[in-house]
Amino acid sequence: MKRTMTFSALALLMTSAAAFADTVTVVTSFPRDLTDPFKAAFEAAHPGTMLEVVSRNTNAAVSHLQETRSANTIDLMWASAPDAFEVLKEEGLLAKVDVQSEGIPDQIGGYPINDPDGSYYGFAASGYGIMYNTRYVQANDLPVAEEWDDLKRAEYNGHVAMSSPSRSGTTHLTVETLLQGEGWDEGWATWKWISGNMNTVTERSFGVPDAVNSGATGFGIVIDFFGLASKASGFPVELVYPSVTAIVPANIGVLANAPNEEGAVKFVEFLLSPEGQKVLLNPAIMRLPVNPEAYADAPENFPNPFSEDFAPGAIEFDVDVSGARYTLVNSLFDVLVTYRMDDLRAAVSAVQKAEAAHADSGNDEAAALIAEARALVEAMPINAEQSLDASFTGAFTISRADPDTEVVGRQAEIEQEWDRFAVENYRQAKKLADQAAALK
């Protein structure tokens, strides 16, 4: 034991000695499958420079940077979720640096690639899709769902999974994309009908591909590389892009007071260079390069977001709208869907049963009851205007709120009200649907 302690002390001294060499330290939420090839390629391109990778999940990485700001030891933050970078930027934890790169357009699929202020840079893009397990689909004799609307159908009841938007920045963007693409009320209605078909809302975003890969669930709403990389690892899964989708970049940013800012910029420039972009096509990584030229070397059938026929319905994503109601949308989804999953599922199944029973019975009374039940499931406690009202959203963004804005109510109070609203509506909807189903 003592010897190992001495050994580790020795090892520690050696590593701190190595720190005098040119070391770039990056904190990342990316898996080793992604970081290892980049580390190897970067160190080969810049002999004498070492890339030290510290892995943390996005939340832990942000908290760690916030807590250690007084004596920062990290040069770069490297992660998917743009919202994590927004948080860091607003707290002044990101440095604005000048990065030289060529051939990278301003936008990808309607979403700006780089932060307009130059605080962080997009280096790869990701879209959202529906991932499905082919064995599961075959065993359960299900058609393949290709659009978000398909997932609303009764035949998918209990076969869908997704992560909660409050847990995964990428899922948040999927939710927000649909809200912007279909409009507030229609968008939420779609989410509720899809959620009624879910068998689980996972806590980690990686929980969804895990569930689809293992066959625990048939369909998962995922960020594309989860599906592409799962397929590349040999799992019997496929990925489809629905026509309403958003393309969002995965980012890298140099931290304020970085110990090795020069090295950090060197790494960002490498990521954006043609050689760096090529690494993204590695089968275990499978993210979409932001440099259109990199697609020349892409394998066949590799999705190209710069091509005409890719997701023709991609919407112009409004970053400001998304930012203004960010936590509100998360909280609303959790209160109405995640925490009340059982109630919602019961209501949705009841409506689906009633509709099946009266598919062609022509019973007007039943049709009226079903319509009423549907309206109750779809009802929202707030409208689109309220969702953007600063005096309302302020209750959810305490740390970043403008002190001058009058805020109405506390988050706990508002959530309690929504919760009552949801429970009562779902219960009532189920009752009406059951009544309709009982009618002859």
Partner: protein
Amino acid sequence: MADTTTPSRGFTLFPRLSGAAVAGILIAIFLMAFLVLPVAQVIYVAFLDARTGVFTLQNFQDFFNTTLFRESFANSFYVSAMSVVLATLIALPLAYITTRFNFAGTAAIQALGIIPLIMPPFVGAVAMSLLFGRNGSINLLLNQHFGFRIPFMEGLNGVILVQSIHYFPFILINLSASLRNIDRSMEEAAQNLGSHGIRMFRRIVFPLAMPGYLAGAALVFIKVFDDLGTPLLLNVNNMLAPQAYLRITGVGINDPMGYVISFILVAFSVFSLWASFLFMRGKDYATVQKGGGGLSRRDLKPREKWLAWGVILLILAMVLSPHIGLLLLAFGTIWSFSPLPDGFTLQHFGTIFTQSSQYVWNTLIYAGSAAVIDVILGTAIAYIVIRTGLPGRKWLDYMATAALAVPGVVLGIGYLRMFHGIQLPFGLGQMSSFWGIIIVALAVRRLPYALRACMAALQQVSLSLEEAAESLGASRSSTIRRIVVPLMTGGILAGFVTSFATAAVELSATIMLVGRSSDAPLAYGIYLYMQSPAGRGPGAALGILAVVIVALGSYLSQRIIERERARQAMTADRP
């Protein structure tokens, strides 16, 4: 240690701090610095108005006004109570059969009984759902051949099942240690008076083993109540601990309710502990041992032997099922919607082979040091609480046990807040990124396990043995060293094993504190792999490695206890 010839008993005119008081103060300082203050730095926001920053109790009022939180509280309580019941049903036969009868493979069974505690993060839930999930092996087979499914893993049922399989070793270990400490003469007296079988177990044996059982049951109850990992991995969030976690860890979320719930979890844990004290109060569980003793073991009749083996194998198959799943995952190629993997391979072990030695050494050093700290602190606190009259001594116990209720991420953030910016001498760098701080965090988080085991062990040591030693002229410190600690050995080792085994796979605080990849323990390595589809196999392989290492450690300590007992029994039996 003090000189053994100085009589430390007797009254002095000058108020002088006894050794126990000094130890008590040092422990209190340790707990203040590494548990209370860091946590307080994080959860004080529970008492602040979120906008103005003034002191308020409004948040607590909100908590009790919210239907969701009240339901979560009820769910947590229900799940904890049911888990204790199920865990008892699993642990009792194992403990009874292995301590009461001459049974081949006792040490192996006791060591296997610890394995469920070593559930590497993430992998366990995947393994469980591949076996028991809606489309897991068992349900796929059932559905294929009989056309129905059993909802093992749905909702709260799943949490109760997984929690009791995971935490029953707390009861098993403490109960076994207690059963071994029961004086044989009690049993003989009962037999002389005509009692035997179930009646004797119910009236004599089990009540005498009560401290151990209660220590284990209280741990299971509090741990399940405070555990957030299992419900989250099963995607159940209508419970209190996951609610706290979900509200603390979202990016950019600053909801005070998360900290309110954390505070309530801590308060409730201390309350349950206090309730178990009340239950034990006024009862004397100590037995006068003759330096060995334990229940007499008898041989089983052939039919009983078959029955015993049947029961044990059934229980082992159930409690080891997650690890069987893990094994299949580690050796399997692709495993998707089928009862078994498509093929088998050694490749995953090849993948981890090159990188794992660093992880293994780090894990052994971290978990081992943490467990040593835990048993030292645990023994000292147990002695101070039970044997001394120091004012406020119970608070040491409450403080240490409250660590159970502190989410690892809260402790991690607290440490960063408290120790970042403190430069250590000798070029060790920042205190918050120094690997030693990981050991401290693990020790603090696992201290309650060791403490409960030590408390139970000490409650069974009769005070008269110490008095006898002291009246023969032994000093207080040599009495502790020569009489008390040896008699507590079983309990101390039980504490060491539980602390070590659980520290080896802890992740939530570690992930905050690991400064560089060369300092990372196994659990962190598993986390790295489990972030990608291709990493599932290697992650499981690394999980298997963790389980094997910890199981070997437990088995060896089990052997040491057995040998020690045999030696003691021999000396005791000598005329």
